[in-house]
Structure formats: structure tokens, C-alpha cells
């Protein structure tokens, strides 16, 4: 029981961060604006959660220009994907155990 809880990752313990990771698990990358629409959050809100995940090393940011427009893309790192998978497994385990 104890080691299951240790896999519940504090970094994902928020609806928006969970959402960001879910999107990046199934998409190679996602733009800031598309991510904002998908998760229905404000710019500032998304930016702060993205920053938190970036600092954990779970996602990477690439900024580039498409023509004159700045374009920000996010992708999950291998470490991020692994941590998220463990988090999901831990959630499933916890549900199973209490049944």
C-alpha cells in the first residue's frame, strides 16, 4: 500500500497538469493555443502549470516563429511519460485495493 502511494506523483495532482500530460501522451506535440482550447483554461493559468511541469523535466518547450507569428509547442519527455504512466497505474491500483 505504501509503495503505491509513493507513485502518486504530486506534480500531477492538479486537474490542469493532469490534462496537459494526458494531451502530450497521445500527441507528439501540442501548441499553446490548442492546449488552451482543449483544457478550457486562461493563458496565465496554463502558463503557470506548464512551467511547473517543465521544471520537473516532464515536458519540453520549443519556441519558434512561423512567418512572423511566435509559436510555442510542448512535448512530453521520456521521463515525463514514464512518471505519468506510473501515476495512472498507481491510481488504478488504489481504486482496485479499496474495492
Amino acid at each position: 500500500m505504501k509503495h503505491v502511494i509513493s507513485h502518486i506523483n504530486k506534480a500531477f495532482d492538479h486537474r490542469i497538469r493532469l490534462g496537459i500530460m494526458s494531451v502530450l501522451m497521445v500527441n507528439e506535440w501540442m501548441e499553446f493555443t490548442a492546449l488552451k482550447e482543449l483544457l478550457e483554461v486562461t493563458d496565465g493559468n496554463l502558463a503557470s502549470h506548464v512551467k511547473a511541469l517543465e521544471q520537473e523535466g516532464f515536458i519540453v518547450v520549443t519556441k519558434q516563429f512561423i512567418g512572423k507569428k511566435p509559436n510555442t509547442r510542448y512535448a512530453a519527455t521520456a521521463a515525463g511519460k514514464l512518471a505519468f504512466e506510473q501515476h495512472i497505474n498507481a491510481l488504478e491500483q488504489l481504486i482496485k485495493q479499496s474495492r
Partner: protein, 205 residues
């Protein structure tokens, strides 16, 4: 209490994964309607072929132009019905009709589909009329298989059925209208109904 929270989290994860990678608002009802248009089109085509004035339908004849017009009308009606009903369904469920997943779906649907269309026109120029119906069936099937990764997975098996039908049709080109009706008419209605019962109705409950 805590348990329900985990279950909700897992549900959220699944929803967001689906919504961000697939366009799930594809309307099943539009499949049924496309099938009905195809059957009506096939009946009028049969009528035209049966009551023709000449022994053969040549590319210069009025009948040929009528057949092309029917095929074009069925296609335009089907595509616009699918677009309108899917956009409406997307709006109802809070999914954006024009987003990354719907764009990806369209691009991946239309690459094989346009290839098939151009191929069909080239076959017509070579006067290989017998191959046109099987080619449209096969390429439409390939388009669905390709597109299924970006929308409801059910499309994959529908695509495979179209491919099989097209291959059988290639061996029996004389029955093209029959195979074409079976595919674009009956298969569309069948799959549209399954999808409608499985996805459309569940959403309004």
C-alpha cells in the same frame, strides 16, 4: 470519497486523450443519410441505364452526363450532410468542430480519397470503365482505414469491408452498380446505424 476522486481523474484523462487526438463527434446519422442518397442515386442510375436510347452508353451521350451528375450530386450531398451534422454534434458536446483533430482527420481522409478520384478520372480517359466502380470502392475503403486513427475506431472495419467489396467487384465488373450500391448504400446505412446507437444517442441521454 477519495476513491471517487481517483475514478474521476482517470475518466478525465481518458476524455482528454480522446478529445485531443481524435475527432469523436463524427455523426452516425450522416452515414445513414449518405447511404440513402447512394441508394436513391443508384436507382436513378439503374433507370437511366435500363431506358437508354442507344445500345451503348458513350462518353458523348446524354445518359453518360446524367450518370456523372448523379454521382457528383450524391457525393456533394453526402459530404455536406456529414460536415453539417458533425459540426452540430461537436457543438453540442463542447468539442470544437474545426480543431487540430478534425483537420488531421480530413487531411488523412482526403489523401487516399483524392488519389482514388484522380485515378478514376484517368481510368475513364483510358476508357477502362469497368474498373471505375471497384477503384472508388477500394480507395474509399483505404481512406476510411487511414482516417480511423483520427476519429471513431469503428471506421476501420467499415473501411476493410469496402476494400474487400472493391476487390470482389474487380473480378465481376459487370455487377458494378450492384457492388457500388451494396457498399455506399447498405454498408453506410448499417455502420451509420451502429454508430448512431453507440455514440450519438448515448450523448443525448
Amino acid at each position: 470519497m477519495k476513491d471517487q476522486q481517483y475514478i474521476d481523474q482517470l475518466k478525465d484523462i481518458r476524455t482528454i486523450m480522446d478529445r485531443s487526438s481524435r475527432f469523436i463527434s463524427l455523426s452516425g446519422l450522416s452515414g445513414v443519410l449518405a447511404g440513402i442518397y447512394a441508394i436513391l442515386g443508384a436507382f436513378s442510375a439503374h433507370y437511366i441505364i435500363h431506358y437508354r436510347n442507344h445500345p451503348y452508353i458513350t462518353p458523348e451521350s446524354a445518359e453518360f452526363k446524367q450518370l456523372i451528375a448523379i454521382a457528383a450530386a450524391v457525393m456533394v450531398l453526402s459530404i455536406s450532410t456529414a460536415a453539417i451534422l458533425s459540426a452540430r454534434k461537436a457543438k453540442k458536446s463542447g468539442e470544437k468542430a474545426w480543431n487540430k483533430s478534425s483537420r488531421r482527420l480530413l487531411i488523412n481522409l482526403f489523401i487516399p480519397l483524392t488519389t482514388g478520384g484522380i485515378f478514376g478520372i484517368l481510368l475513364m480517359r483510358e476508357e477502362l470503365y469497368g474498373l471505375i466502380a471497384p477503384v472508388t470502392l477500394i480507395f474509399y475503403g483505404l481512406s476510411l482505414v487511414n482516417a480511423s486513427r483520427y476519429t471513431l475506431e469503428t471506421l476501420r472495419s467499415l473501411g476493410i469491408l469496402f476494400i474487400i467489396l472493391g476487390l470482389i467487384n474487380t473480378a465481376f465488373p459487370a455487377y458494378s452498380l450492384f457492388f457500388w450500391t451494396l457498399g455506399f448504400g447498405l454498408l453506410h446505412i448499417l455502420y451509420g446505424t451502429i454508430m448512431y446507437l453507440k455514440f450519438d444517442r448515448k450523448q443525448t441521454d
